[in-house]
Structures are given as C-alpha cells and as structure tokens.
C-alpha cells in the first residue's frame, strides 16, 4: 500500500486501509451482512432451543386420557403417508414417525430407541432372536398389494399374467414379450416382438417380500432357488431404488416390466396387469378386491409374539380376490414397563395403547382407502384389538381408552 510521502517535518499520512477510517457506505454494507449472518445464526440456535415451538391442540379421544405424551415410531417408508395422516388426525398424543426404512425401524425397536417400529414385512428368524426380552408383538395395522406394471405402448387395457408366467419372466426363462405362454393367456392381444426388460428392486422391500412369496407359491424352481425375502439375488433384470424408482424406470423404458405397491401404480397412472387368482379369474387390483382377499383368505394368525414369517393373505380363494395382498406390521414390546425401564411412565403406556387401538379402529382405518391403502378386515381388527389389550405395564393390564369394536 502506498502512502503519501511527507516532508521531514510532517509525519506521513497514515495509509487508510483500516475499515474504520473509511466510514463509507461499504462499511455499512459489511455491517449489514454481518448482522444478517449473526441473526441467522441466533435464529437457528433459537429454533434449536425451541423458541418457536407451537402448542399442541386438545385431545380428541373418546374418553379422558391422561396427559398427552410424545410417541416415537420409525420404519417403513411405504406406510409413511398413512402414518403421517394418522399423526395429524390423532392429537391425543404427539406421534412422531420417522420413515427411515423397514430395516432401520426393526433395528430401532430392537435397540429400544422408539416406542413402535413399522415394517412392510414380518420379522424373520434372525430379527426375532435379536429382539431383547420381553419380546415384541406383531400387529398388522394396514395392508397393501403388489401389482405388475409394464411399458408396452401398443397394448391397451390390462395385460393378463399368471404366477407361473411372472416367475418365468423373473427367472429369465421367458425373454421375449411375444412368447407363447404369455400369448396364450392374452388371446387377441398383439404382443410386440421385443426383449423383456425386467425391473426389480435394488433395495430391501416388503413389496419384494410379497412378490417373491407369490412367485414361490406359483413356481417350484423359484421357490427352491430364491424363495421369498425382502432382498433377492436376482438372476436377471435391472434394479431400481424404491417403489418410485421402479415406477420411473418402467415408465421411461419401453418393453419394461416391474412390480410396485398398489398406491404407486394407481397414483402414477402407469399401466398394470391383471393377475390370475386361484379361482382362475384375472383380477385388476383395487382397494375393494384386495380388501376382500384379506377377508376371504381366512388367515390364521399365530400368537402375537410368535413367528409371522409365513403368514400370508395371498392367493385368497374368492372369485374376485386379488392374489397379491399383504399386511404391513407394527411392533411394540409386550410389556413396555419391563422393556424400557423406569423412564417409561404408565401414562405413556396408556397413550401408546390408545393410539394403537385408534389406528386399527374404525376411525383410523377410514383414512386408509383414500390414500390407496387397504383397510383391515374385521377379523384382523378383532385380533389386533385383543393383542393390544394384552399389552401390560410391569405386569399390570393397561386401560385402553378407545372402546373396542
């Protein structure tokens, strides 16, 4: 920096490189910026300290509950919209749901960092053994279904599929769309002479669970080689992440076939097929026929703490039942006082069971169908209600506020 030279008697003028000496509008600008940054930091810290938290609204339960609590759940992303809807409507307690994935939800309940875990698939043997005492109960709280989606511009309506044909496609045995097996069940449809682009899930998923259960039931080779699970070592096809990934991939790839949950198929308007049920009819999935499938399957539930891995509502016998239905599940500890220790109050236990009873009750289930989830059958509701009533707090029964039935 140059300074003006002075004479021998005058000291040289100071270089004006110190901010204060300027006092121009630039200083003002920097000051304003500094103030803005500081305000943002303070606001952020303030939000962190809860300065701006709103207050929760009053309870709307059917009888007087003790004081509202905060219930934390985590798990399946698939049921997240429904869980969130429930948490918005059910205000007797604050329900926080973190859709970090079924696997993480199961791990969270195992580590007791949440009050309930949600998953699209039941606990497998390894997961069950990992859960510490006193163990969890399995509560089916909603249901869904897997549908085959495809991208065939020349084909209108709903293509017919059977479990055998789908298994053959996913095994890689059928590689062209105009194969005889598929043509035989679709008379009058011009199938293109094109290679089938098979799309499956690249991540673990309950939708994969129900899809592969269906393929296992239909095809012995599939059953013996891959069986049913949330993750598969797929023989053919490309992987996409999440239901949305499969939907997008099929939508942009001509001649592709994939499987997604019913709510993705219906909301995205992607073409999906009709699947043959045991009665021999080709069923196009909708909320009604999935609901009837669950009812007609007459599924026998194991004990609440038992092994649910082979519980299935697929291939229900009814004439109009959709054969790829499945439950989604919530896991809670059988005795929350024993499981979580003294930090878990009786009040909280009462709120937890009240919430569970509410979501499987008529009000909670009424929110399912508009979001394309499937309401529980009455037998499932009865079973769930009994399970919920069986939950204890340090050995004592917990008063359930919401009336049964």
């Amino acid at each position: 920096m140059s300074s003006t030279s002075g004479s021998a008697t005058n000291p040289p003028a100071p270089s004006d490189t110190i901010v204060r000496s300027k006092g121009t509008s630039r200083t003002g600008l920097y000051a304003v910026i500094a103030v803005v940054v500081v305000i943002v930091i303070i606001l952020g810290a303030g939000y962190a300290a809860g300065w701006f938290k709103g207050s929760s609204s009053s309870a709307t339960a059917n009888c007087t509950l003790p004081a509202a609590q905060t219930l934390n759940g985590a798990g399946s992303t698939l049921v997240a919209p429904l869980m969130f809807q429930w948490s918005q409507v059910y205000t007797a307690s604050t329900v926080n749901y973190d859709p970090v994935g079924s696997g993480a939800g199961i791990s969270d309940i195992t580590q007791k960092t949440v009050d309930f875990g949600a998953s699209d698939a039941p606990l497998n043997a390894a997961q069950r053994t990992a859960i510490p005492s006193p163990g969890v109960v399995t509560i089916p709280e909603s249901a869904g279904a897997a549908v085959p989606i495809y991208n065939l511009p020349g084909v209108s309506g709903h293509l017919h599929f059977t479990g055998q044909v789908l298994a053959a496609i996913y095994l890689g045995d059928l590689t062209n769309w105009n194969n005889s097996a598929l043509q035989a069940i679709n008379p009058g449809v011009t199938l293109p002479n094109a290679a089938i682009v098979v799309v499956h899930r690249s991540d673990g998923s309950g939708t994969t669970f129900v899809w592969t259960s269906f393929l296992s039931a239909a095809n012995a080779t599939w059953k013996n080689t891959y069986s049913h699970s949330t993750t598969i070592n797929w023989p053919v096809g490309v992987g996409a992440k999440g239901n949305s990934g499969v939907t997008t991939t099929v939508q942009i790839t001509q001649d592709a076939i994939g499987y997604v949950d019913i709510n993705y198929a219906l909301t995205n308007g992607v073409a999906f097929g009709a699947v043959q049920n045991p009665a021999g009819n080709y069923i196009v999935a909708n909320v009604t026929n999935i609901e009837s499938a669950i009812k007609d399957s007459n599924v026998v539930f194991p004990s609440p703490t038992g092994d649910w891995y082979n519980v299935t509502v697929e291939n229900a016998p009814g004439a109009t039942d959709y054969p790829l239905a499945t439950f989604t599940y919530v896991f809670v500890y059988t005795d929350v006082g024993v499981a979580y220790g003294s930090s878990y109050s009786l009040t909280k236990a009462e709120n937890l069971v009240d919430f569970l009873a509410w979501i499987v009750g008529p009000t909670g289930q009424s929110y399912a169908a508009p979001l394309y989830y499937i309401p529980l059958s009455s037998s499932a509701v009865t079973y769930d209600t009994n399970t919920i009533h069986s939950l204890t707090y340090n050995g004592q029964a917990i008063t359930v506020c919401v009336p049964t039935g």
């Binding site: 994935g101 290679a195 690249s202 991540d203 490309v238 992440k241 942009i252």
Partner: protein
Amino acid sequence: MTPGNPFPATVPPRPPRISKWGDRIYLALLLLATAGVVALMVALVAVLVNGSGLAFKAFGFSYIWGYYWNPENGVYGLGPAIQGTLITSAIALLIAVPLGLGAAIFLTQQAPAWLRAPVGQLIELLAAIPSIVYGFWGLIILVPIMAKVVEPRLIKYLGWTGLFNATPIGIDILTASLVLSVMVIPTVTAISRDSIAAVPRSQKEAALAIGATDWEVTRHAILPYARSGIVAGAVLGLGRALGETMAVLFVIGNHTVIVNSLLAQGQTIPSLIANVWFENNTTLERPALVYAALVLLVITLAINLGARLVLTRSQAGRGAAAE
C-alpha cells in the same frame, strides 16, 4: 520536534499491563481452535477405523478388492463399488477437462472483456446447485434422453467397441458419469482460468511477436506454463467426483456388481453407503459401510493432497521462473 521522529514528544509509549494475560488467554483460545482443526483430521481416520472394526476383523484388507457384494449371504466386497467409483470419475474427467479447459481458454484468450465476468459467473453457478437437485434432474431429464436418443445411437455406431453391451434404459454408469462431469466442470474451469491467467504476458506477447496464431499461442506459449495448474485442477475435480453421493444415487442403478459395459447398472462407494445405510439386514453391514467410507476417505485425501502439492509447487516454480 526532532527530524526523523514521527512522534511528538508528548506521547509516551504505553507500558503493557493486563494485556499479558489477555495475550495468553487469546493465544490459548487460538491454539485450542487450531488443535481442533488438526485433531479433526486425525479423528476422521481414527473414528472410521474404529467404526469399521467388526468388518475389518471379519474381512481384513481383502474387503477392498472383494469381487462380490452379497450381505445376505455374508459376502462383502468393495471391488464393484470401487470399480464403479473409478470408472464414473474417470469418464467424468474425460468429459469435463476438455470442456472446462476449452471454456477457460475461450474466456481468457478470446472472449471480449464484457463477456468474461458474466459467463465466468454462470459457470460458477453450476457449482452452486445442490447435488440432490442434479440427481433429480438427471433422473427426470437426462435419463430419458439417454435411453431414447443417445444410447441407442451409441450401441448402433460404437457397439463394435464392446463397451455398450447392455439394454439401454438410461440408468447406468454412463449417465452417472455425465451428471458427475457437469458437477466437475466448474472446478476445472475455475482453476484452469486461474492457471492460464497466471501465465506472464511476456510469454503470450513473445509468441504473437513471432507470428503465432491464437491457437498456437495457447498451445505453445500458455498451456505448457499452465499445465501443472490445469492438471491440479483436474485432480481436484476428480476428488469432488469421487465423493459425490446424491447426484449419482438416482441414476446409476444401484447394482453392486463388477460391470463390463458402460450401459450397465453399477455402483459407487458413496452411493453404496447411502443405499445400504438403513437396510440393516445383518450386523456386519454398517461396519462394512464405515469401512467403505474409510477407503473412500483415504482415496480422496490422497488425491487431494497430491493435487495441492502439485499446485503449490507449480505456483512456486512459476514465481521463481518469472524472476
């Protein structure tokens, strides 16, 4: 007033008082902060080593070149993810360096002065777009274009190379590389510009004086001088590409296998970590992912350190040579 003494005699020098303690406390705070920064680097490696303990005990170093990734069957190998990381980053560089260098040359040599700042700013804006936005853009805009327009032509005209043997669905290594290249270009451009601008004018003027065309000036007088800086910029861009998660996650296909085609679905280390983090199927999965993060950290730090060393040496060299 005595001549030569700028200070009037009436102002005595002030003796230091409590400032000694002020200085000490100040120094202590600064040391704390500095130690924090250095400790951070050490802690990064240490904590990741600790977190991957279970996986390291189970697999040792063979995890790094393991050919298969199949946690449900207890098979853990980082090879596919490393392959995908290297291929996507390499292709991203192959695209970004010519484009970025070309842009830098144009901006510094040919562009009229009024164009330089705005266009330079626009290219910098590319760096400001969050990577998750790039990821979604890639998925909804680039993937269909690749699937319907670009990849079928690549198969048709370049299929003989054997690099494009796969069904073109648009979600693959190639598309991921393209998205990465878009993100790397600003880095390459900015550093190339700086390197080219640092070349002394005398070089350019000397070349022009003997009748070189613009291109010859660039090629013979400027680029050799700026070469190490440009290389360093490319390597820094490589570092950025290696660590990208969200941009790659949506468009690479998340298929953790060794790929033999640019149009196949693959995996990179960051995408693997993000995808599998919440899967939680086995107890070894998270430690294996922490192990993967450690490997990625080591690779990126090594490349970054190398690039910085080259950059500082080239700047020092240039400074000395300019004397």
